[in-house]
Structures are given as C-alpha cells and as structure tokens.
Amino acid sequence: MKINIGLGCFKSILYTILPLLVVSGSCNYFQEKTRLNYYKLGGFTQGTSYQVIFGSNEFISVNFEIDSILQEMTQSLSVYDSASLISRFNANHPNVVPDKYLTDVVKESIKIMELTDGAFDITAAPLIDFWGFGKTGYGKKDTSKLVKIRRNVGHKKIWLENGKLYKANPEIKINLNAIAQGYTVDILADFLERNNIQNYLVEIGGEIRTRGMNQEGEKWKVGIDRPRQDNPDGIKDIQTIIELGNWSVSTSGNYRKFYIENGNKYTHTINPKTGYPAKNDMLSATIVAKDCATADAIATACMVLGLEKSKSLVQGLKDVEGYFIYSGKRMDDQVFYTPGFEQFIIE
C-alpha cells in the first residue's frame, strides 16, 4: 500500500486525533466512577428502534460494523424485504441456501417450538392473518377455512438438512418476528464481546441484553412496562425495575388487545396448536434468560400458554426466569414471578 505523506494526510491524522481527545475529556464524570467512556448508538432496524450503549477504556470504532451486521440480518431474516432469504424461501424460490443467521435462528426456533410443544411456532403466520384483529373480532370468523390453514402450520412442517431449509409443502411460510429481534441482540452482543467490550447494553424493540456495568458503575437497570387498559389514552408506566448483570430480558404482551367474555378478560393471542385464540389471562410475559433469542421466544410462548402452563415451562428451564402480569378475578392486574426472578428486582 502506498502511503501519501502530504498535507491531506496530516489533516486526516489531526481530524482523527481531535475528536478522540475531546470525548475522553468530555466524559470525566464517568471516568471518575468507572474509568470507562460510554458511547451510545441508535437507529432503526427490523421495523423498530435499536440502541447500543457500551463502555470502553480505549476507543473502539464499531458503528460501521454494527450497521453492516444489521443490514445483513435484514437481508436474511426480514419478511418485509421481498429479496431477503426468508422471503425467497416463503415464495418458494429455488436454490435458497440459508446463511448462518437464518440457519441459527431456525435451529433455535425449532428447539423452542419443540420445547413449548408448539406454543411458539414460526409457521403460525397464516393463522394470525386469518384471525386478524379488526371490527369483526373474536368469534365472528368463518372457521371452516381454518382446517385448510392449519394443514400448513406446525412445528414439524419445516426442517434443516444438509445446510438447506425444507418445508413439507409449498404453502408453508415462516415468520421469525417473535425471535429475530432477540437473536439480533445476541449477534450484536457477541460482536461487542469479540471486540473486548465487557460493559454494554443492546436493545432492539424492547428486547435487551446486558453485560457488566452502566456508565454509573452500577448494574444495568431495565424497567418492565406496566399494562393498563382502563382509559382510552392508555397508560404506559413502569411496573418494576430490574437490574441485569450478564443476562437478557424480553417482554411479550397484548396489553390492550383483549376482549371480555362471560365476565372474564382474554387476550387476543392465537394458539398455533389449536388454531384458535388462546383463552388465557396473561397480559404480559417478561422472560430473563442468558441469551436474548431464548428470552424473546419463550416470552411469546408464555402469552399463548397462559399463567399456569408458563409457570411450569419456565420453572423447568435452567437459567430462565419469568415475571408475568395477568388479569385477576376482578379484571385487575396481578403479578406472579418465579422465585429466581426475585434476584433481579430492585424496586
């Protein structure tokens, strides 16, 4: 490589050094507490916002790589991008070879589909489309069409073999939205760790993974949203605050999409196994796990399973804890959390 030692090069060096010095100087407050400078990146990906906050005692440039990773993942996993691998798979394009991302996330999905006995199911999109959530609401659909739709739904209808992804028939489509954000969080976290960043928070659309400490030298603090349904303007408030060390957290919920039947409140979550809306009392499920893909997928499954089955599921899993907000007998919000969740709660 030729090195051009001209004025332009000199200026380039100065420009490179200049901002570095200033940021170091501007973060003295943090340095005194943690000896680290903290940086935050943010933007939009996969139809939602993301943020990456990280601390480092030396400057590391990560923006470009993070942008690239997010772009690659969109090209692989996004059903909104008609040219993505998943869209091409759904459209039955020949010779779709899944990349590492698609392979990994499908593998993880199949694992969780089996673990949850189909409560989490990436083939369930046609059912959700069928039930929708419009003016006709629950109970007013032509359910005779369900028989045909259900033939194309099920956790045994897709499989990976010799590096390729197969489906039982061409009508089958997959949608990874209930796990892709969590999985992307994991990929970004792995990238940061490969760059020796030991203190970070990665968040995509409320799915979060943290490691180490925040800029105040404390464990990362994450609020769990509190659902309320009793006024038209809704209420967004914090139910509780948890402290995460090296854990991930994800919340799934249908806070305001509910209906009343015989005095009971039910959420509009479709059970992939039955093909019908799940009649359960769960308003939101927050799952803490070591990796965010697991937290994301299990949280979704819990919304289908309801409180009692979710308790059993989560308590049977290692390194997985749950915090559930459900509708009580008087249609008021109640909370249950697994014993292991208590360690995270700070207020």
Binding site: V23, F64, F133, V222, G223, D230, Y255, R256
Partner: protein, 531 residues
C-alpha cells in the same frame, strides 16, 4: 454507488468517518449533548464547542414542580365520569374503593408493586368533589363512590362526604355547590356545558376538542372572556418536558429557517380506533338517551353510539378534534403558529368498516404563508408504525417524542463547514435530550409507544416520572387560586378548535378552507372541478 458518494468517501477515510460516527454517539445521563472540537488552534469552524455554539442547555426545563398555591378548598363538579372522567378524577386523587382494593391485592402478592403507594402519595390538591353529573347510572354511581374517597381507601375504608348527583349539567351548575367543573363528556356536549358554567362564573377544565362546531367555538370564547373564569383545555401534553426543550431549541434558531413540519397519529387496535367496550349494564333504563343526544339529531337508543361516540359526527370531531389536536397543540406551544391561513384535508373509512362516519385514515395540510411553512398531519388507525414529530429547517431537523433529537442537514449553511470537515455527521444527532433516563437504562415492553411518545401520559421532573394530567389539573387549580390563566387557556383552545374545524370542514365538504384573520371568519373555497 454514485460518483458523488465515491467522492465523499475519498474525502473522509473509512476509519476516520467511523471514528467520528462513534464519537458522535450519545453518552447517556438524563440529558446530554456532545461537543466535539475545542481549542486546538485549527480553523474557526472547528474551534467552538458545538454546544456552546448552539447555546442549548442540557438542564431539565423543569427545575422544580410549581408549588401548590395556598387558598380555600375548591369545590369541584365532575360532568362526565366515563373513561376519561374517571382518569381525571384519579389524577386529582379520587378513585373508587374497588380500584384501591385491586392495588392492595396486587401489592400483597408483589411487594414491589408501588402503584398504591404512588397513588396515596399524590399531592393533596385541596379540593373536594361536591357534584357529579353523568347520564349513565353506573358511571354516576362510580363517580359518587370516588368522590367520597378522600382518604384513598379501599372497600369498607373510611369515607368522606360523597358528591351529590345531578341529573342535568344545568342543575349542577345552578346548584351553587361548585366553584369549578371538569367536563369530560363527548365533544358535542362540551360547548353548552362550558358556556353555561362560564356564564355562571364557574371555572372550567374541558377536554379537547373543546367544541364540535365553529359557531360553538366563537360562543365559548366570548363566554369565557366575558366571565373572567380560569379556563384550561385538557391538553396534558402542555406539561411535557420535551416540548419545553424543543421551544428553547427553536428560539435559539438551531434549525435555521423552518419550512415543513410533519406530525402524525399511528394506532392499530380497536381501542385506539374508538371501539370502546360497551358496559354490561348499559340499556335504555340506565342511560338517559335524551340528555346524551342533547341538541343533536334525535335517533333511536344505541349503546354503540353512546360508548363509541367518537365514530359519528353527531357527537365527535373525528381524527381532527381527537388526535390532530394533540399534535397541533404540541407544535403550537413550541412554535406559536396559531390558526393556519388555509387547510386542505382528505381521507376515508378504509379499515374499520363498522358503520362509522368519521375517517380512520386522514391527513391535513395546514398552510402558514406568513411563516413560510406548512404543517402536515397524517393519521391511520390501522398501522402502529411509530413516527415522531419532525420539524424541518434549512440547517437541521428536530425530532420530538419522548426523547428529542436534532440532526444537522446535509446541505446546511450553518453546519456546512463542520459537515465537510467530518466533525458533524448528519446521520448522528448533534443534540439529544432524553428526559428521566437517569434511573433506567432501557425499558422492556410489548406495548405500543404511541401515547408515551407523544407526551400524553407522563413527563419527568428531576428524573422522576410524573403524570402530566395531574400537573395539568394542578396548574389549573393554581390558576384559580392566583387568578392567572394556565398554559392552555381559551386563546389556545380557540386557535386549536378553529384549526380542527377547518380541517373537518375541508374533509366533509371537499373544499379548501381559509381563515380570514381580520374578519375572524372561516371561508370555504370552491370545490375542485372534475373534468
């Protein structure tokens, strides 16, 4: 890749560009902005700290909450104890005992549930609820129960004197038992009630849209101005910290000349589309249908129309009066735009084909030629895509939501040199303001961010989340005690109502609608000819 982009990439090496992008990333501590260049002896453009240059403070615009103004206990009447009325009363510290029971039970099971403690700790606003009026028996009875709950107790707890229920609002106003009223009824009843109250010298807090028609707007303005009462329009967004910070940024001309503002509404669930739950006890015997319809068209009893009144023009003002008003008020408090010179709007019922009349997809263009800018509003009730309020200037763009960000424009005159030098990256905010984030680093959530993002729910004071409705009611009560009009007074309400009605008329009549500021008249343009 275009030649232009190639050239740019040649100017700034990847490494340096990445470095600058990362440096421009935002350290987080409640409020933050970054300054890049300091005294390094280079050219003038690089020498100044950007923050100093912009002269924006990183401090919270709320240093302290306004203290309660001392004075006599205010006797309050509640007209309309439906969904909104119930929420307003709770914000003022009065809740039905069964609601407290629920909080207690929840707290028993989860000691970390602080809702009960927070409600009990609400500042005492030194009021008593002396009168209730609601045409639905169940709502009225709940209102009475809440009014007696001075001590914020559950069932069988100590109660105080309950409010008296009045069958009509006229009876309530004439009862001499109230100093002030909160009006939280459907839109078509706002004006008659507020006018009657004003004429009786009773202070008014009324929900938006404050009127249903143009004529009512003039009448209410006149009544309030003549009476001298303290009037507050129910826009709790007035208490939102980000808007106050946005005002500071605009006043300091950080954005340069502003030409276009985009605001929007996105919702995607039946509740957000006004398909509210129909109460199980609702029937002709429990609802006084005649009082509900008021002076409007006489129609057969309909529980659907009663609870989902926003879907029909007889009672509501559609997206314009319900939701454009939120966005308009946010921008109006920042930019003081006032009534537009003209409005064109269009839309339709494209998703909720449930017999409603008001559109569920709708947009309006509000023109301000004297300010050389357009305010564009667009809304859909069937997509939850989150879009912020965006104020576009020649030098920078301001995005306002729960957080606030300023991005330099790629072709900015003011920041051009810094952009060319790679000191400012237009993709990264040159200023960000994140209220109240000191306590939490992130929130895990599955709910829509719509309400919170629009400052409709809460704001932050010294890093603590505070209900904006509580602050808005408190500001009104303080105004009553100190004889001072609050932030959303009749003048603000008049501007907003006229603007909303211009937009509605444009949609319903298919015409461009003008405002003659000198004559204070709405003028309809000619309908577009279809050749």
């Amino acid at each position: 890749m275009s030649d232009n982009k190639d050239n740019q990439e040649n100017k700034i090496s990847h490494k340096r560009r990445d470095l600058i992008k990362a440096l421009a990333a935002i350290p987080v501590l409640g409020a933050f902005a970054f300054g890049i260049s300091r005294k390094f002896g280079f050219d003038e453009a690089q020498r100044k700290n950007i923050l100093d240059d912009l002269n924006i403070s990183t401090e919270s615009p709320f240093s302290t909450v306004d203290k309660m103004v001392e004075g006599e206990k205010i006797r309050l009447g509640i007209i309309g104890y439906g969904i909104r009325g119930k929420y307003l009363m709770r914000a003022a510290g009065f809740a039905v005992p069964s609601w407290i029971d629920g909080l207690k039970e929840s707290k028993t099971k989860n000691p970390n549930d602080t809702r009960l403690d927070e409600f009990k700790a609400l500042e005492d606003l030194n009021i008593e609820i002396t009168a209730i009026c609601d045409v639905f028996d169940a709502h009225a009875n709940d209102g009475i129960a809440a009014s007696a709950n001075y001590f914020r107790e559950g069932t069988r707890g100590k109660m105080g004197k309950p409010a008296i229920r009045y069958k009509t609002y006229q009876q309530l106003i004439e009862s001499k038992t109230v100093d002030a009223v909160i009006i939280a009824t459907p839109d078509h009843l706002h004006a008659p009630m507020a006018i009657a109250a004003a004429k009786a010298g009773i202070h008014v807090y009324v929900e938006k849209c404050m009127t249903r028609t143009v004529e009512e707007t003039f009448e209410l303005e006149e009544a309030v101005k003549n009476s001298g009462i303290i009037f507050q329009l129910g826009h709790q967004g007035r208490q939102t910290e980000s808007y106050l910070k946005a005002r500071e940024i605009i006043q300091k001309n950080v954005l340069g000349k502003i030409s276009l503002i985009e605001v929007c509404t996105n919702r995607n669930d039946p509740n957000g589309a006004w398909q509210y739950e129909i109460h199980k006890d609702a029937n002709e015997n429990t609802i006084d249908w005649g009082l509900f319809t008021g002076n409007g068209p006489k129609r057969p009893f309909s529980a659907e129309r009663f609870f989902r009144w926003r879907c029909w023009w007889d009672y509501g003002t559609g997206l314009s009066g319900d939701l454009l008003t939120h966005e308009y008020d946010a921008i109006n408090q920042v930019l003081e735009l006032g009534i537009p010179e003209s409005v064109v709007s269009s839309g339709g019922v494209y998703f909720y084909k449930d017999g409603r009349e008001v559109p569920d997809v709708w947009q309006a263009a509000l023109e301000y030629p004297k300010r050389d800018l357009t305010l564009l509003y667009s809304a859909t009730l069937s997509s939850n895509r989150n879009r912020g309020k965006i104020i576009m200037g020649h030098d920078a763009t301001l995005e306002i939501g729960e957080n606030l960000h300023v991005y330099a424009d790629t072709q900015s005159t003011r920041y051009g040199e810094r952009i060319a030098a790679g000191i400012i990256d237009p993709k990264i905010p040159i200023y960000s303001y994140i209220p109240g984030r000191k306590k939490m680093d992130a929130v895990t959530s599955a709910t829509e961010a719509y309400f919170a993002g629009r400052g409709l729910l809460y704001t932050y004071i010294n890093g603590r989340r505070v209900d904006t409705t509580f602050l808005h009611i408190k500001e009104w009560l303080n105004g009553i005690r100190s004889n001072k009009q609050p932030s959303c007074d009749i003048e603000q309400g008049f501007q907003e109502a006229i603007t909303a009605h211009m937009a509605t008329i444009s949609y319903r009549e298919g015409v461009k609608v003008y405002w003659d500021a000198d004559k204070r008249q709405i003028i309809r343009g000619e309908p577009a000819k279809i050749s």
